[in-house]
Every structure is written in C-alpha cells, then in structure tokens.
C-alpha cells in the first residue's frame, strides 16, 4: 500500500466538494457539449442534422462532409460539422494502482475528484456516464447510466475504490475495450507510471471505437523529487529495492528521463489523435478540470 493511499471507503466527497461541483457545472454547461461533440473525429460525428461548425479537412475524414461550396470559393477543403443527435457515453477509467497513492494530496484522490466532477457535469448534460477502475487488471466498474440520481451511486463507488497493486495498462484497457458496448468518450485518469504497456492499452481503446482523452496526474515529489544521499528506494508497486546515492547529477538524469517519458506519451497521444493533459496534484482539481474544459471550448 502506498503511503498516501486512503483505505477503501475512507474517501468522502464533502459539502465543499459538492458546492464546487455545482459551480463547475454552471461554468461548464456551455462548453461541455462542444467538447463531447465538436472535436473528436469519430465516424459518428456529423450524422445529425443540426449544423455545428466548420473545420479543416484531415486525412481520413469522410469526403461526404466536405463543404464543396467553400472549396469552390477558397480552394481549401473544409469539413462541415453537425451536432450528433446520438447519446454520448462518457467512460471514466481511473487508475487505482498503488503508484496512484503517492503525492500530497494523493494522485488517487485527485483522480477520483476529477472523475466525480466530470461525471457530475456529464450527467447534468443528460449523457451516460460509467466508471471503471483498474490496477493489474480491470477492476470494479459502474456501468454507464443516464440518470441524474446516478450521481450518488457514482460517488459512493469512487469513495470505496481501493488503491493497490501493480499497473497493467495493456491487460486492463484491452479488457475494457472488449467489454464496453457503447463506444464513446473515454477519459483515462492515470499517472502512466510503472509498466510500459500504456500505449498498448490506449491503442486498444481507440480500436474499440472510443474517443480517448488521457489525463496524466503526477505528484510534485515525482516531478521534483526531494531526495539526496544514500538511499534504498522501494518500488511502491512491486516492492523492488534499489540502492542508490542521489546526487545532483543523478537527479538531473532522473528529471531528464522523466521529461523524455512524458514527452513520449504526449507525442504518442498527439500522433493517435488522443487528447492529452498533464497535471500536478499540487494544482486544485477544479483548475485542472476548467483547463481541460476550456481547451475543449477553445477548439469548438
């Protein structure tokens, strides 16, 4: 068990948190739908009748949605976007491995708060919301439900999630992709540390027809570790030990490795059309959420 990981059932969404959710819901109401329907190039987009937006043509887009009128005038390909009339399913996948228990507040708490907020906003926009957790494999899930009164169950589910075990992105996300009947928007909240099969998992989600958003949460102690001297490092997930003398040089090498790791994830996501957001646990969760939502609004 990680040092900061709360025991199952201890996590409580207090009144203050709930008031924040209501405030966020007001702020997010306009932009959330745009986020869900405007940006993502899915086969389903544009099948509705209501015009929504134009955007530049991208390879792979359906030719039938090209606005030939604009093309004839401007000699540029623009895609005419239409608001989908289908229900959108929001799948929240929370990393509950032991590594999420680190940070102050812990990454796991932050992830649960984010998931709760996203679910709250989505439910108020009459979308389906389901939640799954995973560690070494896919863990407990709450199937997508479209009902505002679903929020209480959802909060209870999040509050009781355990935080333990190693990370098995590939296994867990493949299992999720195979199990999910309604392709939709998948928001994966994880630190993406540990096992190296995160890419495989994200690919599996994409192949399952989901639009994928990755929110990577990192603790401040992981970004700038306050470590020096002769240490015996213990891996919080595997228990492996590593004797190391941390000096300025080694710390520099660590940060170099971390930056490269984060950059690789970001590049992977960009290449695959996966929305990627990185945040520190030092930032309040609503700020993270608003940043994410505003990015979506900006793109709309």
């Amino acid at each position: 068990m990680a040092p900061n990981a709360p025991a199952a059932g201890e996590f409580v969404f207090d009144d203050e948190f709930l008031r924040k959710l209501e405030r966020l819901e007001l702020l997010a109401r306009k932009i959330f739908r745009g986020l869900l329907r405007g940006e993502h190039t899915t086969p389903r987009r544009g099948r509705g009748l209501e015009f929504s937006d134009f955007r530049h043509y991208r390879p792979g887009d359906d030719f039938r949605h090209i606005d030939w009128n604009i093309y004839s005038r401007l000699d540029q390909l623009f895609l005419k976007l239409h608001a989908s009339e289908d229900d959108v399913t929001l799948h929240l996948i929370v990393d509950a491995s032991a590594s999420m228990g680190f940070g102050e507040p812990s990454k796991f708490d932050q992830a649960r708060r984010l998931a709760a907020a996203l679910a709250y906003i989505a439910l108020h926009n009459l979308d389906r919301v389901g939640i799954s957790a995973f560690a070494e494999s896919l863990g407990p899930s709450l199937p997508p439900i479209k009902a505002r009164n679903h929020m209480a169950r959802l909060l209870a589910f999040l509050g009781e999630l355990p935080c333990a075990g190693a990370t098995g992105f590939g296994t867990a996300l493949r299992a999720f992709a195979m199990r999910a009947r309604n392709p939709g928007l998948v928001i994966l909240v994880s630190d993406l540390l540990g096992a190296g099969d995160a890419y495989e998992g994200i690919e599996a989600l994409r192949h399952g027809g989901h639009d994928v958003v990755v929110i990577q949460l990192l603790a401040e102690s992981e970004i700038d570790p306050p470590l020096a001297g002769a240490l015996r490092m213990v891996d919080g997930e595997t228990g492996d030990e590593l004797d190391v003398t941390v000096d300025r040089e080694l710390r520099g090498l660590y940060q170099h490795r971390l930056d490269r790791h984060l950059q690789e994830i970001e590049n992977f996501c960009r290449r695959r059309g996966v929305e990627y957001l990185r945040a520190s646990t030092a930032i309040d969760f609503e700020d993270v959420l608003l940043k994410y939502l505003r990015r979506g609004a900006h793109l709309q």
């Binding site: 540390l193 020096a228 015996r232 213990v234 190391v244 000096d247």
Partner: protein, 619 residues
C-alpha cells in the same frame, strides 16, 4: 632508491582496511518508498554508462580518505629518497688504492685513473654548504683530508693519491667511513672501487654508493714466495714459489728466482686455465740477501708478476742480566755463541716492559723480580709476583727426583747434582703452559711457563749453594733454556711482510738512528725511542734496506695475495646503491619524504572535506 627510517610505522597502513571497514559498515541507507523506481533505474543505468571517471567520482570521498591514510602511514615510516641535493651534506669519498686498482683498463689507463675521473666529478658536484672527506682503502683505511668544503683542497688531495701494492680490506675502510658519518643527516659514502674483493667483504648500508670501475681483465700472479732453512742443515735452503693463472685459458709462464746477484733457477711453468703450480726448489749454500721472483707474462696487472723476500744473517741474542754477581751464570752465558750480554744492577724503578722489548731475554738472578710483562725471562733463585706459582719458604737439601719429560731437559744429567737450600714454591693456579722441569719430593726446583705472551724459565735455588754449575748439565740447561725462550732459527727465516703492514726494527739503545732505504729510492731516517721502531711506509712492494750503525739488513714488502690478484669484480649488490653515472652527477643524499606526504595527506583531506560539504549542500 627509497628507504624507511622507521619501518615499524608502516603498521599505520592498517588504517586503510579500517577505513574500508568503516566505510562498508557506515550507517544504513535511508529507506524511501516511491511510486515507481523504473525512472531511477533508467537514470542509474545511464549514469553508469557514463565515463568511468563519474563512477570513480561517486566514491571520491572514500578514495580520498584511503589516499590520505596511505600518505600518512607512509609518512610515519619516515621514507627517504636518494636524490641529488643542494643541501649541505657530509660526504665521504672513499677510493680503493689496493693493488688491483693498478690493473690496465683501456689504452694507457688503469682502474685507478678511471676512479680519479669519477672522484673529480663528485668533487665538482659538491653542493654549496656541503662537506667532503677523502679517504683511501688499502690494507688500512687512511684519511687524506678532513671534512672539507673547499673543492680545491679536495682536488689537491686527489692529485696526491696513487695505488699501492696492498691487498685491499674494504670492510675496514667502509666501517670507518660509516663511523665518520654517524649521526650526520644526509651522510653519503661514495666508494670508487673495482670490486675485486670477496662479496662479503663490505658492510650493508644504504648510505654507501658503490661506483665500480674497470673491465674484465686477465692476470697471472705469483701468490706465494718464501725461503726456509732445511731441517737440521744450516747450509741448505729451499725456495717456495706458487704461480696462479686467473685467466680462462692455459698459459706458459717463464719464472725465475734470484738471490742477490745469483740466479737460483729459471724455468717455464705450464698453467692450466684457473690453475696454479707450486715449486719447492732446494739449493745449497748460505741464503743471505734480497731475493726476487719474477714471471714474464704480459697480463693486465704487472704488480703481482714479481715477489720479494729477504734473508738476513742471524741476529745476536740480546740478554739482559740483573744480578748481584754470579760467576757461574755469567760464565755460562758468555760462553754461548752469538750472545750479547748486558749486566746491570736491579733497581725497583726500571721499566721492565720496555726492557723486555729491547732484549731477547731478561734474566733475574737472586734479585727481587717485579711483576712480569709480556716477554722472555729467566728467573734464578727468585719468584716474581703474579705468576701461577708463589714462594712458600725454604727447603733444606732437597733431593732431586729426576728430570721431567720436557725438551728443555734433553741430555741434562742431574744425577750428581746436590743442592744445599732451595725455595719452596706452591702452584697456586695450574695453567696448561706450566711444565715441571725437575723437582724434589718437597717442591718444584725448575719450571717452564708459557702463558699469554709471557715465556719464562724458573730455577729455584741459589747456584752458589749447589754443585749444579760445576756439572756438565748446567751449561746445557742454560743453552737449552735460552733456545726455548728465543729459538735461534727465527731470524733465519725470510723477513717479508705484506704491503701496507708494519715492520718492527729492533734497536738495542734508545736514540739509535735507523736509515731506511725504500724501493722508490727515497730514504727515511728514524730514531729509536722506546722499544722497536715501527715502520709503516710499506705501500710499495720491493726490498727495503736499513742500516743500524754499521750493520745493514733487509726486509721485503710483497703483494703475494691470491685474493688481490683475482682482479675481476666479485662484488655483488646486496641492496646497496651501485651506479656508474656521469662524472658530473654530483652529490646525492637521502631526502626525507615525510613532509611531502604530510602535505599531500592534508591536501587530500581538504579536498575530501570539500567534496563532502558539496554533496551535503547538493542534497
């Protein structure tokens, strides 16, 4: 070359494993639990892939501690390095002047010439404030200068040096040189030699630097030459000659021996490689005068191609008689041939030791004899103190039991001898050299004693109160006693000494001038004081002639030393420094290294402290 003044202090180096143990047993690492160690592992791998220096630097603190402990440990042992020094240092320049240094080495030069060139280079390198002493090593070590700081004085001393015909004794010279440098810091001895002495002939000391001169050489030498009288034949002599070949090839050597102007023999000797041949050649006639043996061979050392001996006419027997008057004894002594008798009254203030040196035999007859020194004495009716026997009264009319087994009593018939009164003597401490000549039932009547340089015959009764002087046995007893005390054949042997040793010239009267004529043509006049003259200017082989009054006598100085004639170096390094550096190499001395090591240790500890504080601040 490095030596340690306090080798036991090297035990301080045990601090190194102690530091290592402390390092390995240092407080355990702080345990921290992280979300993942994969990034740290990757960083560590990358760090270890970096250049080895980084890995080294990671343990820099340990390495610096170990290095400083090493430096302190070595410094405590007082290491000293042999180095050229500009500091003032006392140096002994010891030059081998033994006969082998005359060996040819190159065209027109000898080993001694090469040694002088080396010596000049060392003197040229005398540092400011440094002092140097020049001494030579022959049969005896000789100091040629004191500790001089003036190079010109040293050069003058070197210019006066020349090799002799002496057999070298380097151990004595080196021992003296070491004694001279005792308690002198940086003291150094340069021994310029050809190494033609046995391997164990030199002491061990790192202060000695051997500079070996000369190349391999070939030599054939006369190693023994002597005359002797044939047994019981006064007019027949034998000459002994040994010639040795020190080369690896057989040689034929013509050899000859001359006595005065007479050629005794001339013949060719066939010598195997490293072989020798000894000749014993008899010849009739009287052998008196200087004798020379020669071999005719072209080898690298000429000094041992001839040898010398001298046979002098027999000396007269010098007898000093202290008596109140003894007709029988004086008559018996004066009747002996070749005897110079001096008769004196005894006075207690006489210096018996000096008199014993000046005379062959001293006789005390009926006077109170003093404690006797080394020498030859005849005591008649008196006992001296300090002898193994002492006076214990008188014995009236002792009956002689018969002569003992001593050679002194050969043919001495005591049958008719009657004694009115004799001294009673008691042997207080038996000594091996005490023999009974004849005795009565009550006491010993005559004894002979040979004890630690003291040779004595005791006759224990008054000659005037016995009929012994009237018997034929008496002069025979006196003659055989004097012959035993001072055998007459001694001076008929060849008078020769090894080059460099001292020859004693006996002169009866103090103040007598003695003129010694040396082989070089020089002569020296000496005046006798107390005892025999000691003549020591015998570095050159040859015949030395001296005159005392009208008498002319000879003694020979000769090399004839097989070890010295083996002219190739047998010296083996036993850890001592040996070099043949350029002549201008200058003076070297042992420079202490501990200040350097202490400074190094402090510097290392300072750097280690900086590294430690740097790592702390980095943390």
């Amino acid at each position: 070359m490095i030596q340690f003044a306090y080798p036991l202090a090297l035990l301080a180096l045990l601090a190194v494993p102690v530091i290592l143990a402390l390092y390995l047993l240092q407080p355990r690492r702080r345990r921290v639990v992280l979300s993942t160690t994969s990034l740290w592992r990757a960083a560590l791998r990358e760090s270890e892939r970096a250049v080895g220096l980084r890995r080294l630097l990671r343990n820099l603190s340990l390495l610096l501690l170990l290095a400083s402990a090493l430096a302190l440990g070595l410094g405590a042992a007082g290491p000293e390095r042999l180095a050229s020094t500009s500091e003032g240092a006392d140096t002994v320049l010891l030059i081998d002047v033994s006969a082998s240094m005359k060996t040819r080495s190159g065209i027109g030069t000898t080993r001694f010439d090469q040694a002088l060139v080396e010596a000049a280079g060392i003197v040229d390198g005398l540092p400011r404030g440094g002092r140097m002493l020049v001494m030579t090593s022959g049969r005896k070590p000789v100091l040629r200068t004191g500790f001089e700081s003036n190079p010109d004085a040293l050069r003058r001393a070197l210019a006066q040096l020349r090799p002799g015909d002496e057999a070298g004794r380097p151990r004595e010279a080196l021992a003296l040189a070491l004694a001279l440098l005792q308690n002198r810091e940086h003291g150094r001895i340069y021994f310029l030699t050809d190494g033609a002495f046995d391997g164990d002939a030199h002491p061990d000391s790192p202060q000695i630097e051997y500079r070996i001169v000369g190349n391999r050489a070939r030599n054939v030498a006369i190693t023994r030459f002597d005359f002797r009288q044939e047994l019981a034949r006064d007019d027949h002599f034998q000459v002994l000659l040994t010639v040795r070949n020190f080369t690896d090839a057989p040689v034929a050597v013509p050899a000859s021996v001359t006595l005065g102007d007479r050629v005794l023999f001339r013949r060719s000797l066939e010598l195997a490689a490293l072989g020798e041949q000894t000749l014993v050649v008899p010849f009739p006639g009287r052998a008196i005068g200087p004798a020379v043996a020669r071999i005719d061979v072209d080898d690298d050392l000429a000094a041992d191609n001839q040898a010398f001996a001298a046979v002098n006419p027999p000396d007269s027997l010098r007898v000093l008689l202290f008596t109140r008057g003894n007709f029988y004894l004086e008559s018996a002594l004066e009747a002996l041939p070749g005897l110079e008798l001096v008769k004196r009254d005894w006075s207690p203030g006489e210096d018996v030791a000096r008199l014993a040196l000046l005379h062959d035999v001293v006789v005390f007859d009926g006077v109170a004899a003093p404690k006797l020194p080394r020498g030859r004495f005849l005591l008649v009716n008196t006992v001296a103190p300090g002898l193994p026997f002492s006076d214990a009264g008188r014995v009236e009319r002792p009956g002689i039991l018969g002569p003992g087994q001593s050679a002194l009593m050969r043919d001495v018939d005591l049958t008719a001898v009657r004694i009115g009164e004799a001294r009673r003597v008691v042997v207080d401490r038996p000594v091996p050299g005490l023999q009974r000549l004849f005795r009565s039932r009550e006491t010993d009547l005559a004894l002979a004693l040979l004890d630690d340089g003291l040779k004595l015959v005791y006759l224990g009764f008054d000659l005037a109160r016995s009929n012994f002087p009237l018997q034929a046995a008496f002069p025979l007893f006196v003659s055989q006693s004097l012959e035993w005390l001072r055998p007459r054949g001694e001076d008929r042997l060849s008078a020769h000494i090894a080059a460099g040793s001292t020859h004693a010239i006996h002169v009866l009267a103090a103040g007598t001038p003695v003129v010694v004529h040396m082989p070089s043509g020089n002569s020296e006049t000496l005046v006798a004081k107390d005892g025999p003259l000691q003549f020591d200017r015998t570095a050159d082989a040859g015949i030395y002639r001296y005159t005392v009054g009208d008498a002319e006598r000879y003694f020979a100085v000769t090399l004839t030393d097989a070890r010295e004639s083996d002219v190739n170096s047998r010296w083996r390094s036993r850890g001592q420094h040996v070099t043949a550096p350029p002549a201008s190499d200058g003076v070297k001395a042992f420079v202490p290294l501990w200040p350097l090591l202490l400074a190094l240790a402090l510097a290392l500890l300072t750097v280690e402290w900086c590294v430690w504080t740097g790592s702390r601040s980095g943390a």
